[in-house]
Amino acid sequence: MIAITHEPIDPFRFIESAKRPETGGIVTFIGTVRDDGIEALELDVCEEVALSDLRKIAEQASSDYHLNTVDIIHRVGRMQLTETIVVIVVGASHRQEGFAACSWILEQIKEFVPIWKKDICKNGESWHFTK
């Protein structure tokens, strides 16, 4: 499943559904809200473009890394410390392709998918903005 959601993400159903006879390795990345001195994190999104981008990334990864399954679920809205921001689950026949694909998908998301993080701190809010 490729999705953008405002609700908490349950990664377990995606891991379960990645179990296929042709799959030997399931590699999962779960991004969580890290305490960098913040109270919470708020994520903004341009949903129609982001969803279309995620679908293209998943398709490319499936093809380039010969994946059997790909799931990408990105949450937006406000999240507390340790809550799950993103879940990427890839099912691969071979482990190296699984690791490479999962990492590549994450880097692609960070490079161009229109999602933005804003730190919510005691004394204000500030967008992550790296030129």
């Binding site: 341009c46 990105h74 998301i109 161009f112 998918v113 229109p114 967008w127 790296t130 030129k131």
Partner: protein
Amino acid sequence: MKVTIRCYARFRDAFGEEQEIDLPPGSTVRDAVITLAKTGPDAELLVDDAQNIRSYVMIMYHDERISPIDAGLITLADGDLIILFPPVSGG
């Protein structure tokens, strides 16, 4: 003619969520961004001193990403929509 510019995240804070801008016929995407930049106190977020669009600005036009370098080559039509994305930080 009128074109609409929609902004996200930090650009929205600086220039509003959506602005309708009046431009002379023959104006380009670059002209529209320069015009928008002048409406806020943080023009330099969008354009440099030479009025070139910052390289980190992601521009969506007709559902396609276009490069800030090409923005001066693309002529607008009345009713067009331009979307501006600041540097992303998802994942």
